[in-house]
């Protein structure tokens, strides 16, 4: 830490603090509306916190003439409150009316918006009711102007009703000009030195005006006290629950942004990286920017597993990091979710909280793959990056997820490949032949073996049939005989490079590669069906 402060890195640290923490430029880059929303809430709330909630401690120490009821503080309190309220309104519009695709709203988001709204609205209501309250007026008059005569007090009250928003049934309009004059003089002598005109708290004053028809009843029912409790309790609830809510990002996000500005993954100690990652889980504000730009988002649209979206992975990862167990369905969903990722790093680039999501996925992925259920996706080209990083996984456990997936997808078809097995050639009722979207071009095959001859995978082995189960031409032949399941068990379909040599060189225009794709889809669908049956049979908790 000290080494950072006394080095050139301090510049980067300060830059990150000003541009990314205080000015939130990453949010600005995404959307002006979102940036305006967050700036209004962030600055409005921070300023309210220091000037209003901690006024006696912070503002008093900075400005010698501080008095909350004096301007500019009286005016600013309302301005800051209104800023937060405007931000909250934008947040509600964005979350509930704009229908932004993949902007998911969780209970935590609703809580965050709700608690802010309650704090601010109760604040405005409290000060609005206070302005209209006869009881409040009487208490103030007694304390600061108790020595005035009855007549002078009535004049003061008339002036307050006429000019300061007070509602009182003890004085009645219209007021004579000399009475108001007398009241104004009393006001200037005894009140004005520490009470700015109520109108300068413009929002509270307007609230009071709106409430004035009911002000008398509210005053008698003790609304000032009730609202005071609501305002204070909501503040304290917000504070007490802060560590467990997404509001924790007030602390964790700046730490993450600044740590990532100066931390070098390769040089940092692993324990420091781990600490940062745990903080990062709390730095997520669930703003969903990552999911808006996720490259794999159409995978989510196709499979409807929300854990495919990066923003939605954080919650289950947090649960796992806290040592909680997920149930079977959730585990399966998070394993698929974390693997259906193209490793394009876009989530990390756009995250306004500066979370190194890429690293988070990489670290969680291997553990989940090893411990979780078989995941057929590991048999796809999504595994490319896992292959590139294979040295990070111990060599003895690296192949396990692949073996697990292969087993889940192909095990039941493998015995069909036994060369000593007798083959039943009676056509199955209803047909076992692949149908949906399947090009039936395999029936053109006349067995010239060109496909197997040009296949670089076949050519790579001395004993290709032993390695691959069936060669491409044998697969076409099997399909012609209606032995689709036998073909689905061939390792060849998973070792296919999809280089299209076979298809290109087929004199009969058999779409060999495309047919291998279809066989893969059918083999994977078998896993999903098996799981559904298992789930229906009560396999799920």
């Amino acid at each position: 830490m000290l080494a950072v402060i006394f080095s050139a890195k301090i510049v980067r640290l300060l830059q990150a603090f000003v541009l990314d923490v205080l000015l939130q430029r990453k949010i600005l880059k995404e959307s002006v509306l979102r940036w305006a929303m967050h700036m209004l809430i962030f600055w409005g709330f921070i300023l309210l916190l220091f000037m209003h909630a901690l006024g006696r401690i912070v503002t008093d120490a900075l400005f010698s003439n501080y008095e909350p009821t004096l301007n500019p503080y009286f005016f600013l309190r309302d301005l800051f409150g209104l800023m937060v309220l405007a931000g909250v309104v934008v947040a509600v519009i964005r979350r509930f009316f704009l229908k932004i695709p993949r902007l998911m709203t969780s209970s935590m988001d609703k809580y965050a918006i709700g608690i802010l709204a309650v704090i601010i609205l109760s604040g405005f209501l409290l000060s609005g009711v206070k302005i209209t309250s006869k009881t409040e007026f009487s208490d103030m008059a007694e304390e600061y102007a108790g020595w005035l005569s009855q007549e002078e007090l009535r004049a003061l009250e008339s002036y307050w009703v006429s000019d300061q928003g007070l509602v009182s049934s003890d004085v009645t309009r219209p007021f004579a000009a000399d009475v108001l004059d007398q009241g104004k003089q009393a006001h200037e002598s005894y009140c004005a030195y520490c009470h700015a005109p109520a109108k300068s708290a413009f929002a509270s004053y307007s609230t009071g005006k709106i409430l004035s028809p009911a002000a008398g009843a509210m005053d008698r029912a003790g609304f000032v006290g009730i609202l005071w409790y609501i305002h204070f309790l909501s503040c304290f609830i917000g504070l007490a629950y802060l560590p467990f809510s997404k509001m924790l990002h007030i602390f964790s996000t700046p730490i993450t942004i600044m740590a990532n500005a100066v931390m070098d993954e390769k040089k940092s100690k692993p324990e420091n990286v781990a600490t940062r990652q745990i903080i990062e889980l709390d730095a997520c504000t669930h703003c969903c920017t990552c999911s808006l730009y996720c490259s794999a988002m159409m995978g989510y649209e196709a499979r409807q597993n929300t854990y495919i979206l990066p923003s939605e992975k954080i919650a289950p990862l947090k649960a796992l990091a806290a040592g909680r167990d997920l149930n079977e369905a959730e585990t399966r969903a998070i394993v698929e979710g974390i693997y259906l990722c193209t490793n394009c790093d876009r989530c990390t680039v756009v995250c306004p909280s500066g979370i190194n999501l890429r690293q988070l996925w990489l670290n969680a992925r291997e553990r989940l793959l090893q411990q979780g259920p078989a995941e057929p996706l590991v048999l796809s080209q999504l595994s490319f990056v896992r292959g590139l990083n294979r040295k990070k996984t111990p060599a003895d456990i690296y192949p396990l997820p692949l073996e697990k997936a292969d087993n889940a997808v192909s095990a039941k078809y493998r015995p069909l490949l036994d060369p000593d097995r007798s083959i039943d050639l009676t056509p199955p009722a209803g047909g076992q032949q692949p149908t949906s979207g399947f090009e039936n071009t395999f029936s053109y095959c006349f067995g010239c073996q060109n496909c197997s001859t040009v296949c670089p995978v076949v050519g790579n082995y001395e004993d290709p049939q032993e390695q691959l189960g069936l060669l491409p031409h044998q697969i076409m032949c099997s399909l012609g005989l209606g032995l689709t399941e036998t073909a689905m068990g061939a390792k060849m379909i998973w070792d296919c490079l999809t280089c299209y040599q076979c298809q290109e060189h087929c004199p009969q225009n058999v779409n060999v590669t495309d047919i291998l794709y279809e066989l893969k889809y059918m083999a994977v669908a078998g896993v999903d069906e098996g799981r559904q049956n298992h789930d229906q049979a009560g396999g799920l908790r």
């Binding site: 995978g299 499979r303 999809t498 794709y517």
Partner: protein, 294 residues
């Protein structure tokens, strides 16, 4: 002025960023304007093995985004190119899956009619810019430089779908390399797969396929591989480096991306071309360059 939507996919921004910067720098010199569409997502290629719907949805959404801006698409990656082309081909037929995909695309406020032309980077250079115009911009030529070009499967095949070049005797890439003065050598395995599609699922087989290619290229006395696809490039660069580290005494044959090769001869500075970003050192390439043409 030619204008395209620029499709860089997932591997380039995260693992081969120099391909993008070099390609942009070269295209700028030929007056090709590129539009970046931030809503582009994965082309669907990596999901194609296990989920046809996810593959099609991914591809078609990108095509629809480009189509809705009235732009043809310029693609840097062979696998993206192949996936997009195959998706276009599949969507040209009617079927329940196609209907479902179109329905989802419409829900997103997009419209897909298959109007966008999908173009590979090399095709744009070869057909739109033309060899003559390229030669004009080549200020320094390479002398006695042997290049083993890697066409890459998903651009070449299936040729009826990709319509990239003659699938058995392609010449487009060779001619582009020859325009820089370098010699495109004949080598066996030239049209074979780099092995990348099996990286992560069958590493041993993937490595075997690559090793055969390297042996063939070295036998043909190539000084460098030259690629036009991030997957081929990662296989020839990052993976080769891993393989060389693992087996002592093996000689690496470094790989240069085509826009890096062309860019140097066009006097674009090596920094912009990201020569230093390659894992295997390719700085030696500059020693083959002649002096500026008069």
């Amino acid at each position: 002025m030619m204008r395209y939507s620029f499709f860089i996919g997932c591997q380039i921004p995260s693992r081969v960023p120099q391909y993008e910067t070099a390609a942009r720098a070269v295209l700028k010199n030929f007056g090709v304007e590129l539009a970046d569409i931030r809503q582009f997502n994965c082309c669907g290629y990596p999901m194609r093995n296990v989920d046809k719907k996810a593959f099609l949805l991914s591809s078609v959404k990108n095509l629809a985004l480009s189509e809705n801006q009235g732009l043809d698409m310029l693609v840097l990656c062979n696998c993206c190119f192949g996936a997009l082309k195959n998706a276009e081909h599949i969507m040209a037929e009617k079927g329940p899956l196609q209907d479902e995909v179109l329905g989802k695309i419409r829900e997103m406020g997009l419209n897909y009619q298959g109007k966008t032309r999908i173009r590979h980077y090399l095709s744009v250079l070869y057909h739109d810019t033309g060899i003559a115009a390229i030669k004009k911009q080549v200020h320094k030529t390479y002398k006695e430089l042997n290049i083993a070009v890697q066409y890459g499967c998903h651009a070449l095949r299936p040729s009826s779908v990709t319509q990239f070049d003659d699938p058995v005797a392609p010449s487009l890439f060779d001619e582009l390399v020859a325009a820089t003065g370098a010699k495109s050598v004949d080598w066996t395995n030239k049209l074979e797969c780099c092995g990348a599609p099996l990286m992560g699922t069958n590493d041993a087989l993937s490595a075997d396929l690559f090793s055969r290619k390297r042996e063939a290229a070295i036998k043909a006395e190539a000084d460098f591989f030259c690629t036009s696809c991030p997957y081929c490039q990662i296989q020839f660069d990052t993976v080769q480096q891993m393989l060389v580290e693992d087996s002592a005494g093996q000689k690496a044959l470094p790989s240069i991306l085509f826009p890096q090769l062309l860019g140097l001869s066009m006097n674009i500075d090596p920094q912009t071309l990201g020569l230093g970003a390659n894992k295997l050192d390719i700085s030696k390439i500059e020693s083959y360059l002649s002096k500026d043409k008069e």
